[in-house]
Symmetry: C2
Subunit: 276 residues, 2 copies
DNA sequence: CGCGCCATTGATTGCTTTCAACGATTGTGG
DNA sequence: CCACAATCGTTGAAAGCAATCAATGGCGCG
């Protein structure tokens, strides 16, 4: 009654299926096919690499549990995390079309990963158009998230950028049922956040404390709660459009209905006016 | 004899065909199909938009002449150019899979653009696997360029970032035959460069003058020459791998052979040692 | 010729980094 | 169960890179 439709088909399940169902027009049949391709899930220790840069990959990796990231290293050791990877996401989708990855994938926490054979997936994508299109959607989404992060890296202040990340994480985690209300568990270090946002860990720390002392967020241990979604969203300039949640039939997922997620521009401005 | 193989099939041509031939495994037959889909070329005035954010696009746009960009605007007017678009590139490939674009596309110079109907291209991509895969490669490339720019925005200094952009532009222009030796024509303003790199126009100006006075580049009017490729590349930390030039049979294009483009790491380090 | 856009230059401000040290928390082994 | 090490978070002071503000110069174009 409350959106938890754990029918038999949901047993295909896990976050990968949830995400595909909510973001693409894939059917349960195709979902089964995908599931059939995926090999046995593998456990990855925290702080180890799943994929090395300039590998010649033969399989893709679906993240089932834990958080991971794509990152690049400069020669002098500077690191940029180019994407945070959450449960249900494919770590290295672009290597489906390109013969070597120009980034590495690392586990930020302990992870569970399901491998999918690259050439088998390529075959499936061409023989089953619905799967090919679903993968296209996922790739376009990667693109959109990178594009938005570029805008953050280039043109947003540290405070705006940190706020933006928190907003994005909440929505993305909510999509796969890993949020609790307006809060979630943040298992990565401030240094990893810093490498994502192009800042230093020290400054991330100061910015987070600023947000806390302004009453926008609460943080106890690894638990983060966004207490003032409207304000935080406003500071961040967060527009969820780039996550393309609205592309899918809204009936298939009710979480978007939570009023403070899909707030309209006007009601948002009201809330800003109200609070100054 | 010198790489200009203008056979009959090259008449399919133009930079789009050149790019596809060099980056993907597409055949002349499929190239013809693509050409057939594309509508009549359209002229776009400089400084006008081709695509507006949150359109519901029915056609894609192939850039045939001129330079364009994808960009995002923040509410207060700050702009981030997320991709520079050069001749032969598709302006909005991701809208093939997603129903609205989260960015705008603007012409930086006067442009010539060929439209392709979205649903017709979707059909073609599924009915002709080779075309679907070629589009996948192009999308992965967009992804790779965004990823590399994120690393630049987040972790490179202004000087490194400007150098990196110049290196990238030279290689990308060379790919479609729009470079002259180690030089090219830079028709965009310093403010547009700044919006690409997440800097201010003032600072871009100072950095460019620094590179000039250090003898790394020459600039007269709109003409830029990279006089010290090895050094500039070294400063930028530019590794052309992310452009995936090596995925294709090298026999199909000889430009990569130009020794200073595909310089190995070791020879590069030598040149660094030599110059200090 | 004059307007407008773009490039250039200088002085000043400020956000973020860097460096350094200390405190808190977690996990581990005796 | 506690001591200890290691990692992570926190705080302060100083330095630096890039932004901002402001003004001038150059160039193309109507």
């Amino acid at each position: 009654m409350n959106g938890h439709n754990h029918s038999a088909s949901a047993e295909i399940g896990g976050p990968f299926a949830t995400r595909l169902r909510r973001l693409t027009h894939i059917g349960d049949d195709e979902l089964c096919e995908l599931q059939r391709l995926s090999g046995e899930a593998r456990q990855i220790h925290a702080k180890t690499d799943l994929v090395h840069a300039s590998d010649h990959p033969v399989r893709l990796h679906v993240l089932l549990e834990g958080w991971a990231c794509r990152y690049k290293l400069l020669r002098d050791g500077r690191r940029q995390i180019t994407s945070l990877l959450l449960p249900g996401e494919i770590c290295d989708l672009d290597t489906l079309y390109v013969t070597n990855s120009d980034y590495a994938v690392g586990a930020l926490t302990a992870c569970t990963v399901a491998p999918i054979d690259r050439s088998e997936l390529r075959d499936l994508a061409t023989s089953q158009p619905a799967i090919g299109e679903a993968l296209g959607v996922l790739m376009a989404l990667d693109n959109a998230m990178l594009t938005e992060r570029s805008a953050c890296l280039g043109r947003r202040s540290a405070r705006e950028h940190v706020s933006h990340l928190l907003c994005e994480l909440l929505v993305r985690l909510m999509l796969v049922g890993h949020a609790r209300g307006n809060g979630f568990t943040l298992l990565i270090t401030q240094e990893e956040i810093a490498d994502t946002l192009g800042l230093t860990a020290v400054h991330v720390n100061r910015v987070l404390q600023g947000l806390k002392s302004d009453g926008l967020i609460e943080q106890r241990g690894h638990n983060v709660v966004i207490s003032e979604w409207g304000l935080l969203r406003r500071i961040a300039g967060f527009q969820s459009g780039y996550l393309h949640l609205e592309d899918v039939d809204e009936a298939t997922f009710d979480f978007v209905r939570v009023p403070w997620v899909m707030q309209t521009q006007s009601s948002d401005q009201n809330s800003l006016d109200a609070h100054g």
